[in-house]
């Protein structure tokens, strides 16, 4: 038997890694990947709680989170391509102007 808290600690570590990457990384693609890492951490919490409370709704929520993450990845990467095309850089520090 694996205690619920182990899953929650793992989930928290993943989320914290995601937050750290989001704050520390300067490459826009890596920042985007950190967001995915945070979503994965939350998903693990969802599944662990679903298992704990015998409620399948948690797993349904994970399914929806995955779908939204897929949509977000498609649109976000399209935005990244667009940003790179107009500014020739992937460094977020250099993308600080609304107008070219």
């Amino acid at each position: 038997m694996v205690p619920l808290s182990y899953y929650l600690v793992l989930s928290a570590i993943l989320f914290a890694c995601g937050v750290l990457g989001f704050l520390l990384k300067r490459n826009i693609i890596t920042i985007f990947m950190s967001i995915e890492l945070m979503l994965n951490g939350v998903n693990l919490s969802f599944v662990a709680f679903a298992s704990q409370w015998h409620a399948l709704s948690g797993q349904i929520f994970v399914f929806f989170v995955m779908v939204v993450a897929a949509a977000e990845a498609a649109v976000g990467l399209a935005i990244i391509i667009s940003v790179y095309r107009t500014r020739d850089t992937l460094n977020v520090d250099r993308v600080d102007l609304l107008k070219l």
């Binding site: 038997m1 694996v2 205690p3 619920l4 808290s5 182990y6 899953y7 793992l10 570590i13 993943l14 890694c17 995601g18 990457g21 520390l24 990384k25 300067r26 490459n27 693609i29 985007f32 990947m33 950190s34 995915e36 890492l37 994965n40 998903n43 693990l44 599944v47 679903a50 298992s51 704990q52 399948l56 709704s57 797993q59 349904i60 399914f63 929806f64 995955m66 779908v67 939204v68 993450a69 897929a70 949509a71 977000e72 990845a73 498609a74 649109v75 990467l77 399209a78 935005i79 990244i80 391509i81 667009s82 790179y84 095309r85 107009t86 992937l90 460094n91 520090d93 107008k99 070219l100």
Partner: protein, 178 residues
């Protein structure tokens, strides 16, 4: 046995996440993110969530990460360049990090935990599908609308702006403001 599996794949998972942080090349970060997702799928299996584990491998480690790797290759992303951080952030951040860490450790150690019985919940595709098409039908349909909008948005955003605009009629492209 379950605990051993959990620990092994949990360690792999955390190692992948930390590797994502310390690598400076985006492609290496992407590959370690795939490691994280694959080992998370094993954790889902341990929790009895078969469907979610399968979807995790197919959608996350498959589709989404292929998209990431594809974009990294397309943009020829190189090494990350470091930039100077501010000193105030360091000064305030480290004590706050310590504080949050102590609070977290306290809350984890001072609360009794129940254990999850593995296999007690049967999240197979049949049960999930039944729920999805009865109780959660409306969210499911709204999700399909969301996906449709996302596809159109991605196509519009990533399509190349026209090289020589013929006139004011070149509307749908992102319109590089010159």
């Amino acid at each position: 046995m379950h605990l051993a599996l959990f620990l092994v794949f949990g360690i792999v998972c955390v190692a992948g996440a930390v590797n994502l942080l310390i690598q400076s090349h985006p492609i290496q970060s992407a590959l370690s993110l795939i490691v994280v997702m694959a080992s998370l799928a094993v954790e889902y299996l341990l929790l009895g969530a078969e469907f979610v584990a399968a979807v995790q491998v197919i959608v996350y480690a498959g589709a989404i990460m292929v998209l990431f790797v594809f974009v990294i290759m397309l943009l020829n992303a190189g090494e990350e360049e470091r930039s100077q951080g501010s000193h105030i952030a360091l000064l305030l951040g480290l004590p706050s990090l310590l504080l949050v860490g102590v609070l977290l450790a306290w809350s984890v150690t001072h609360h009794a935990t129940d254990s999850v019985r593995v296999g007690s919940l049967y999240g197979d595709p049949r049960t999930i599908g039944k729920l999805l098409f009865t109780q959660y039908l409306l969210p499911f349909e709204i999700t399909s609308l969301l996906i449709l909008i996302a596809i159109m948005g991605a196509v519009v955003l990533a399509s190349k702006p026209e090289v020589a605009p013929v006139g004011p009629a070149s509307g749908l492209t992102t319109g590089k403001a010159k």
